[in-house]
């Protein structure tokens, strides 16, 4: 009886403790996730009055502006297209290379520690520093070296119309490995050594070990990252702001950059907040099924 009472008291104690520790984080989520997003939905149906500095109900105005931009200009189409291309490079190519590089580090092959250091370096250095270094290097140094060695004059890569976007894509992949390497090598280190030993005894080659043993085992980790990455499809700015500030030509916009510009561009003030919210809702509605699809493809039907 005494034992049962003590257990009951302990359970009550635990429940009180549990409620206490989760209360504040949940309150934060209630305000800065639920309320903020709810308010964002409401804002999409409002407009801003500059004179009275207030928001007022204006059903449909922002969505019709979106329709106008979609049908009468190329900003939205280009921004969607660029967002998708950036995502394809950073998520698909970046993830693939990260897994391959992680395997190299996991196997502790030659210079693996040095390579790990360099792969992680972009995560440590401020992105703005890397952007500036990269910008001056591709605009000043690379054309200079090409001229010196080949005698050919090349337009600076971030100025040439055709070379700008490929250079931005290269940069975004170039700096995307840091945390992924950390997580994937962590996941690979958790693979039971017996499994790898068994493979070795069976004469499995490294490529086979990588494709048939390592990748399938770490797939849940990869899936978590890729699914979370799909969500960044329309928030990724591709570092455009760091590269060019407000001076990006419309044809190079991504949705993430466009949304940031709507909110942040000098002179816009709060006028474009409602339109940014409306555009955000539309993007959310597009990205949600894509995320579900990615989840279904990566984790299988039963878990989707």
């Amino acid at each position: 009886m005494k034992e049962a009472n003590r257990k009951k008291l302990g359970d009550k104690d635990e429940l009180i403790f549990y409620c206490c520790i989760i209360a504040l984080p949940l309150l934060q989520i209630a305000i800065f996730y639920f309320y903020v997003n709810f308010n964002s939905v409401l804002m999409a149906f409002k407009s801003y009055d500059k004179m009275s500095k207030t928001f007022y109900w204006d059903f449909g105005a922002n969505f019709s502006l979106f329709w106008k931009e979609l049908t009468q200009t190329s900003i939205i189409i280009d921004a969607f297209k660029n967002s998708f291309i950036v995502w394809l490079f950073t998520c698909v190519l970046g993830t693939f290379l990260s897994i391959v590089f992680s395997y190299y580090i996991f196997k502790k092959w030659v210079l693996s520690k040095t390579f790990k250091f360099f792969l992680f370096l972009p995560s440590v250095l401020p992105s703005i520093l890397l952007v500036i270094v990269f910008k001056f290097f591709v605009n000043d140094a690379i054309p200079g070296y090409i001229l010196h060695f080949t005698g050919k004059t090349v337009t600076p890569l971030l100025i040439g119309k055709d070379s700008l976007m490929p250079t931005i894509l290269f940069y975004n992949v170039w700096v995307c490995f840091g945390s992924q390497i950390l997580i994937y090598t962590g996941a690979m280190d958790q693979i039971a050594p017996e499994i790898l030993e068994a493979g070795k005894v069976d004469g499995v080659s490294c490529i086979r070990e990588f494709i048939s043993i390592v990748v399938p085992i770490i797939l849940p980790t990869v899936a978590t990252f890729v699914i979370a990455n799909v969500a960044t499809l329309f928030t990724n700015q591709a570092n455009l702001y760091a590269f060019f500030g407000d001076n990006v030509s419309y044809s190079n916009y991504t949705i993430g950059y466009y949304l940031f510009e709507l909110v942040n561009k000098e002179g816009n003030g709060k006028t474009m907040y409602p339109y940014a919210s409306a555009l955000g809702i539309i993007c959310t509605l597009i990205a949600f099924p894509l995320t579900l699809l990615a989840r279904r493809l990566l984790t299988g039907k039963e878990e989707a």
Partner: protein, 309 residues
């Protein structure tokens, strides 16, 4: 016997080809990184007169590509240090933030945000991983859903809410706003706390320990490696971020924002490539030192989403 040797040789060669192929890719990556950083450092110690190309007697003169020929000059660093300030327009006047104030703002922003996000993610990771209430499952599922459900364009609303709560453009405000558990750190802590056997908790309970002591004195110390790794990762990412502080704490320019402004500065004395690059190198020093001190913390194994088997 001969066949065995042959098979082994074939396997070894396939091992080598695969390893070599990745090594070549990694070496190219490392080279691009080294060359661009070396070129940057090399440029910072050149005078602008040496760096800029100009025509002299029909020849292009100047040295953008090679080691300094007129000696090493630290003048660019001196100039960058002198002019590295950000002006913030207040209602009636303009406030100038020098390099030290920007570092202080960066520290307050990064330390506060990293602390709040680490503590909140740790606490929620602990609660959901160690307590088998149904609500814990809901929280875990909710985090996964929010990470997969991309809510785009909520920044205007967040600014409006922060303004109405009087926490916009304040440090405590940004610490609260960033102190969320809807992130990868939560999943890292969840995985970590799930791995620690329940026996520890049971043994402590038998010894009469209360839930708070079990968490603080037994379980969290076992996960200290992960805690410090998460903190270091969060600190670095906040320190390097310039867009969030630019929008949410515009009156407190951080060092990364200073770098952004510095590269676009109209001040004639420093509006040249060597000085601009010297300025950003100078501003990167603290985080490089921080990384040098704490890089071992990043060697801890992190796991998210688990592995099969």
């Amino acid at each position: 016997m001969d066949q065995n040797v042959k098979i082994k040789a074939v396997k070894r060669s396939s091992v080598n080809v695969f390893a070599i192929a990745i090594a070549v890719l990694l070496a190219i990556y490392m080279l691009t990184m080294c060359i661009s950083l070396f070129w940057t450092i090399m440029t910072t110690v050149k005078t602008n007169a040496e760096y800029e190309l100009y025509e002299e007697a029909g020849l292009i003169v100047g040295n953008k590509l090679w080691l300094p020929k007129t000696g090493i000059s630290l003048n660019n660093y001196k100039m960058a240090f002198q002019y590295f300030y950000v002006e913030v327009q207040e209602e009636m006047y303009t406030v100038q933030y020098d390099i030290f104030q920007q570092f202080l703002n960066s520290f307050l922003y990064s330390f506060g945000c990293a602390t709040s996000v680490t503590v909140v993610s740790l606490v929620m990771g602990y609660a959901t991983a160690r307590f088998r209430y149904k609500f814990s499952n809901y929280i875990y599922a909710f985090v996964l859903v929010t990470m997969a459900l991309p809510i785009v364009g909520s920044m205007p609303s967040e600014i409006a809410v922060a303004t109405s709560l009087n926490i916009f453009d304040t440090f405590p405000g940004i610490w609260i706003m960033r102190g969320s558990f809807l992130n990868t750190y939560f999943l890292i802590f969840f995985a970590q706390f799930k791995m620690i056997p329940k026996d520890y908790t049971e043994a402590a309970k038998i010894d009469g320990a209360r839930p708070f002591s079990i968490m603080l004195k037994i379980i969290v110390p076992l996960a200290m490696g992960t805690v410090s790794t998460v903190f270091v990762l969060a600190f670095i990412s906040f320190w390097n971020d310039f867009q969030i502080p630019m929008v949410y704490i515009p009156s407190y320019p951080v060092a990364a924002y200073g770098m952004y402004k510095f590269q676009n500065t109209p001040i004639v004395e420093i509006a040249n490539t060597p000085t601009r690059l010297a300025g950003i190198c100078l501003m990167a020093l603290p985080i490089v030192i921080f990384y040098a001190i704490f890089n071992k913390k990043l060697n801890v194994n992190l796991s998210v989403g688990g592995v099969k088997g």
